[in-house]
Amino acid sequence: MILCFSAQITYHIKIMATDLENKMETMIGAKALMKALEKEGVKEVFGLPGGANLPMYDEFARCDIRHILTRHEQSAAHMADGFGRVSRKPGVCFATSGPGATNILTGIATAQADSAPMVAVTGQVPVAMIGRDAFQESDIIGMANPVVKYAFQPRDAKEIPEVVRKGFFIAETGRPGPVLIDIPKDVQQNEAEMVFPDEFKIRGYHPWTDPDMVNIEKAITMLLSAEKPVILAGGGTIISSAFAELQALAELLMIPVVTTFKGKGAFPENHPLALGPIGMHGHAEANKIMTEADCVLAIGTRFSDRSVGTFEEFEKRLKIIHMDVDPAEIGKNQTTSVAVVGDVRASLRIMVKMLMQKAVKQTEENIWIKHVKETKTYWQENLKLHPGEMGAAKILRKLRELLPHQSIVTTEVGQHQMWASLFFDVIQPGTFFSSTGLGTMGWGFPAAIGAKVAKPDVAVVDIAGDGSFAMTENSLATAVLEDIPVIVFVLNNFTLGMVAQWQRTFYDRRMIGVDQGKYCPDYVKLAESYGAQGIRAESMDELDRAIKSALSSDVATVIDIPIDPEEDVLPFVAPGTSLGDMVLPS
């Protein structure tokens, strides 16, 4: 076997620039940074200043970029992440050296795990101080290496314009991801003759491949000959906005669509062919159909353990067609029958076109699709829900009822997140975002703020739990002072609920380290102390009023909804088992 990937590719990127602007200009590194950001179309930067990035901060006084001050660098990174996922352009965050830089690491790792475009800019100690354990020095390039798509550390001010151009290009092309630019303080301060390049070379980066016609053809043959085909749409479907193509394919061939959790909302969840997410806390009907299928078209997914359960079980039963922009995902977790490498939207478009040329259209409901619909109806009618008035399903369905479909929803991480997966239907594709890969508690609220900055005209709601919200609740200051009115929807069980559920299930109810204390803090008062609106909703009527009030409010609102701490998220596929071993509510 000889695998040979050779590429010497030069990208010719034309940026909108007049000849005049192209001429060399003498300026300091920090000014060049801001100018380069402006050229990338950056309007907002999320961040927090410190000693080593003061030269950059000083430039905010002389440019049109808005600075949005956060209370913690991790939140700045999550805001940039939320902004990036919604706008599909890299969100930008700034942090200082040392602890500022280490604080954004969790945010960078979160963006990397979920392939979100981001450019993080950190200050660094002056070049001559690097390696001497200077005050607030950290080797952030070394630390960040495994969790970034790429990292730059310009050592000369004149490198900055090209580094920024390359950084944005890398962050947003191919499989998106976070890029770190670490700039020593003297490099920010030094003057240089700056050239803002139209062209640049990245020899070892080849994010685009031509559509793989041969394998697309093979995939079509395989799909058409399958008796029980399923489409599994992953996060890549959302990243590439392949919504129309996915729907066209599913409708053309009458194939049911399940998603991964990250792919939730790649396909309208009220569509007759939609079964919702599979996985550890997938929909019963989705897991059920997945275990019965004989062929899966997997689009933009890495077959995460949380989605497919045990890998061996999954691939034993199924012919897998895998479409992904990242060739390294092919065969990483699952052995595939057919691999289609390339942008999934382009590949799906070709697939649909080929099918239309062949005049293939499934109009009759076959046995499989009838069975799929019966299964769906059965579980929608028979899944046992919490009997109380304020059960998670009822609460989230109420939110869905009142929230316009174009609203953006983020989540924190925990039980509420999985309830959102189960009970909050995403109708308009690409409006639901969550920290699905790294599972970062505290992500949802700052990400919602970033999302609202990207799309100020739609309502943005963070479906939260009390444990997760506590991690970045100080972003209320940013939401209020920067006038970014998002809604935090807290399902408050006064507990680290998911951990508690595992302790109830696997550790014989020994509840260790999960009690959050009743109203500690009181989220209504906490919200009010920041100048936000705080509303407690203890009944469906109160919830109805609270949501309506939040939607019409021009300040950020926290809705605190006390729920039963004993409510479990079900169905549940225990770790290390397969989707067929789903535990149902009894």
């Binding site: 076997m1 000889i2 040979c4 590429a7 495994p146 990245i202 020899r203 070892g204 065969g331």
Partner: protein
């Protein structure tokens, strides 16, 4: 299986760190690694040998190729490749005949003898890892004091 990977990478600081870090973080093992600048000073050539089944090796190659600093990544077919490793052995001399015996052994493997002292001798041997292992086995009874090995350097034969 044993695999020889040949990487053409940007000749910039920090690339070796990134490559070795990738092996660590993806749970792959490096058997040997050698690095040197190429005829074009903008590039370095890294030769890495590793063990894994075919699927693992394919995954290593893909992950390495995904790295932005790698220009080219090849899994070399060892039958179509010239690959050698430099090793230096320091061997104990206990008996009067040892020096001569070791000289003969070194000659048989195409090695060179250096630094002959009263109680030790050094042998420089450039060979394949298998040949070096065979030499080591035969030299062991004399008592090996130290060994330094460079790791494999490899280039594919023309037309292969």
């Amino acid at each position: 299986m044993w695999a020889i990977l040949s990487l053409l990478v940007e000749n910039k600081p920090g690339i070796l760190f990134k490559v070795t870090h990738l092996f660590r973080s993806r749970n792959f093992n490096i058997d040997s690694i050698s690095v040197g600048v190429t005829e074009n000073p903008e590039y370095s050539r890294m030769t890495i040998t590793t063990y894994g089944d075919e699927k693992q090796v394919e995954q290593i190659v893909k992950q390495l190729d995904k790295m932005i600093d790698t220009i080219e990544v090849k899994h070399l077919d060892e039958h179509k490749t010239v690959y050698r490793e430099l090793s230096i052995f320091k061997i104990k001399l206990s008996n009067a005949n040892d020096s001569m015996e070791i000289n003969k052994l070194a000659n048989a493997y195409g090695g060179k003898v250096h630094d002959v002292k009263k109680d030790s001798i050094m042998v420089e041997l450039t060979a394949t890892p298998d040949q070096i292992a065979a030499f080591e086995e035969l030299a062991a009874p004399f008592g090996i004091i130290d060994v330094a090995r460079t790791g494999v350097a490899a280039l594919q034969r023309s037309g292969a």
